[in-house]
Amino acid sequence: MPKSQVPRLAAVATAAVILAIGLAPLGVGAADHLDSPTVSALGSTDLTDVYAYSTNDSTRTVLIANVNPGAGVLPNSTTLFGTGVQYNITVDTNGDANPDVTYLLRFAAGSPQTVKIWRNGVLWGAGTTGQTIVLASGTKLWAGLRDDPFFFDLDAFKGNILGASNGRMLCDANKVDFFKGLNVSSIVLLVPNAELGGNGKTVGVSANTAVQKAGKWVQVDQMGRPGINTVFNNHLVAGDASVNSVKELFNRTLPSEQAGLGFKANVIATLKAVSTAFAHPYTDAEASGLADVLVPDVLTYKVGDKTGFLNGRRLSDDVIDTLLAVGANTPGASDCIANDSTFSGSFPYEGTPN
């Protein structure tokens, strides 16, 4: 599942609650605390999913980065991109986990919001949200509110695997797609394959968000493959008290630096534990080999290859089923939830908002 979906929504809520406490208006003289407003900033920096896939004619690649989980319905979330936020979609074309192509987006206040895009530091174009913007070399950009394309039975997963007391199991009679009916803020790019090194090239796609702290841009979230942070930086390997610290660190770490920080060990430990629990234990070598693939966290994609996840990620790919099968070393493991979004055959492809 997208790494952001399980603890992400909870984490947004956690931090959003920080402010539900007062700052006294001392001038009023009552000297009593007031309930100050809650913060909604995090939604606009919170990546939910990244997609990379080939068009049918294998001439272009679709790159998508989604933010703002539960846009407009979570407490204090909005349907807007952050105006003080840098949105980056990066592509590593030479396998060193460092970006070779970076698309950087900034949004301004307003409705619709104006958007500017830079490619490798050069201003490339501008427009507004909700509008198809045509850029040099035939690249197209669209940014705005969309139906969340993700699908997952979150509560069954919690009941089955995370120990919730909700009576739910994967594939039970009450299966439900938690994300049906929710929206996200989406950035969609349609890029000619030559931009990414040409057909056949294996690239690593990733997205990150950054905000300014003391005048410098600081990464606050990053994402490549779905589910990595959620699945592999978990209570088992990190301990209850520290697990969120570990997830947080992962979000703030560049992919090129992830291997050096012990995250591979987390992946190996998790693969072995989960596969053992499903009675198909991975050997050390198998788990280690998988860990080498999964860290660094970039979405590996062969340009022009239409296969789908684990090659890139298409909108309707059932990444949950794939991850459950991989994690449990059990082919066929599934949450029994299929895609329920209506996608379009034409740009920008994702469904209209709910």
Partner: protein
């Protein structure tokens, strides 16, 4: 109950009135909005479509919050086994409580959070929500205990750190509060963290620093696309501190910014009222305060409005507001607990039940030893003819060097009553130097005591 007279809104408040669309609904005949009829509501937390029991007291625009509440209630009905959905619902009820001043919303929020935890004990956000509610309901030590428990099970639960910090600040434990906020700063960032330092700055006499922090917070909140309520709050808070030091024009700009962001923000309306009074425009002040009170009839707003009427010489209207304050004091245990400090100050200042004021102010000092608690106890004792007992707490209220004209005025009056002329006059002059229009009754009383 409160009667809403027809609002004579002066020109200065026309813009505000246009934006506060709910004001249009008020006329002489309406009593305050009725609570929904007591339909049998099996589960007020999740009943879709109906306003939850005890819905908006006033006219704050909560349509967006209500629609989000309905959204999650409908989803809970379809999928009752989701802890996350109950958690969001709880947070929305708490938000509604903040927006409407209806303390009963927090009870609904608590129910929703408890349901979330029942479904998934690992839902830290719901546990934090419960702890935050405890702070709101003034259950300080319970809140601190809960915060610590949450932190033991999740080091990353910064919401719990905030709860501990805020509750500690409210009971006067500045060291713990400061440490907690420093921890917050390490683990998170953003205006919500920085604004807490603004409060400490003000309390310790650094008003300019407090203002600077809040100006930055407002800008950050705008850049990150924070909620409108949040942005308005920072502007409003900056306005309060500016007003404290007598920067009336600056305060007015901040309150206007707050209202520009959130048109019917009752606190900013009251702020504009205080600005108007400080400029000698009593009618204008009355207009703003009537607007604020129409949205949320909190005791301190009602008391101030009453004082404006008293200054104007309109005793009947003044009395109507004062009686509303007394009514709220009797309303329910929960309301009384949340408002008891305002009520003590009101009863003391207006010499209504001064013995009761002493009783509640001194009782609260047992559990809440912040400077404003000492000030309330001091003022209550002074007005109950116990000036000798009032001096120590009044001095204690000055310990941090807070530049708050009201604290200085209270101390000055007590010192004069005890024959400490030089000290007393000095403090009264300090109060008036900070802001000559700091309060309708207090500023006048200070001037009179100085023989001006």
């Amino acid at each position: 109950m409160l009667k809403k007279r027809f609002l004579l809104i002066p020109i200065g408040a026309v813009v505000v009135a246009l934006l506060s669309y709910r004001l249009a609904g008020f006329d002489g005949a309406n009593s305050r909005p009725n609570r929904p009829a007591a339909a049998v509501v099996q589960d007020p937390v999740t009943q879709p479509g109906l306003p939850a029991a005890g819905t908006a007291i006033g006219a704050a625009d909560i349509s967006d919050t209500d629609s989000r509440i309905s959204f999650w209630q409908a989803r809970i009905k379809a999928n009752p086994k989701s802890d996350a959905q109950y958690q969001y619902l709880g947070q929305l009820f708490a938000l509604k409580g903040r927006q409407t001043g209806d303390v009963a919303q927090y009870a609904l929020a608590t129910q929703a959070f408890e349901k979330a935890i029942e479904l998934f004990p690992g839902n830290v956000a719901a546990r934090i929500g419960l702890a935050v509610n405890l702070v709101t309901l003034h259950r300080w030590s319970d809140a601190i205990d809960q915060g610590k428990q949450i932190l033991q099970s999740d080091l990353r639960a910064i919401g719990a750190v905030a709860v501990i910090g805020d509750a500690s600040l409210e009971i006067g434990d500045l060291d713990t509060a400061r440490a907690a906020f420093e921890t917050l700063r390490q683990k998170a960032d953003g205006p919500s963290v920085e604004s807490r330092f603004a409060r400490i700055a003000f309390l310790t006499g650094k008003t300019d620093q407090a203002i600077q922090i809040l100006d930055g917070a407002a800008q950050s909140a705008a850049d990150l696309n924070g909620s409108l309520e949040e942005q308005a709050f920072y502007h409003y808070s900056a306005g309060e501190y500016r007003f404290s030091k007598g920067d009336v024009d600056g305060a007015e700009r901040e309150f206007e910014s707050a209202l520009g962001t959130l048109p019917n923000y009752y606190l900013a309306l009251a702020g504009r009222g205080r600005v108007a009074f400080a400029r000698g425009d009593v009618e204008g002040a009355i207009g703003f305060y009537r607007a604020a009170v129409a949205i949320i009839p909190k005791p301190e707003l009602l008391a101030y409005l009453g004082d404006l009427y008293a200054v104007k010489g309109d005793q009947a209207d003044a009395e109507e507001q004062y009686q509303a304050v007394e009514f709220i004091a009797k309303l329910s245990e929960i309301q009384a607990q949340v408002f008891n400090r305002e009520i003590a100050l009101f009863e003391a200042t207006h010499h209504r039940a001064t013995a009761h004021a002493v009783e509640i102010a001194v009782a609260e000092l047992e559990t809440r030893k912040d400077i404003y608690g000492y000030d309330a106890a001091a003022w209550a004792l002074y007005n109950d003819n116990q000036a000798d007992k009032a001096l120590a707490p009044a001095q204690r209220a000055q310990l941090l060097g807070t530049q708050d004209p009201k604290l200085l005025y209270h101390l000055g009056m007590i010192e004069l009553a005890l024959g400490r002329a030089a000290d007393g006059q000095g403090h009264l002059r300090d109060a008036l130097a900070l802001n000559p229009g700091f309060d309708p009754l207090g500023a006048a009383a200070a001037r009179q005591a100085l023989g001006q």
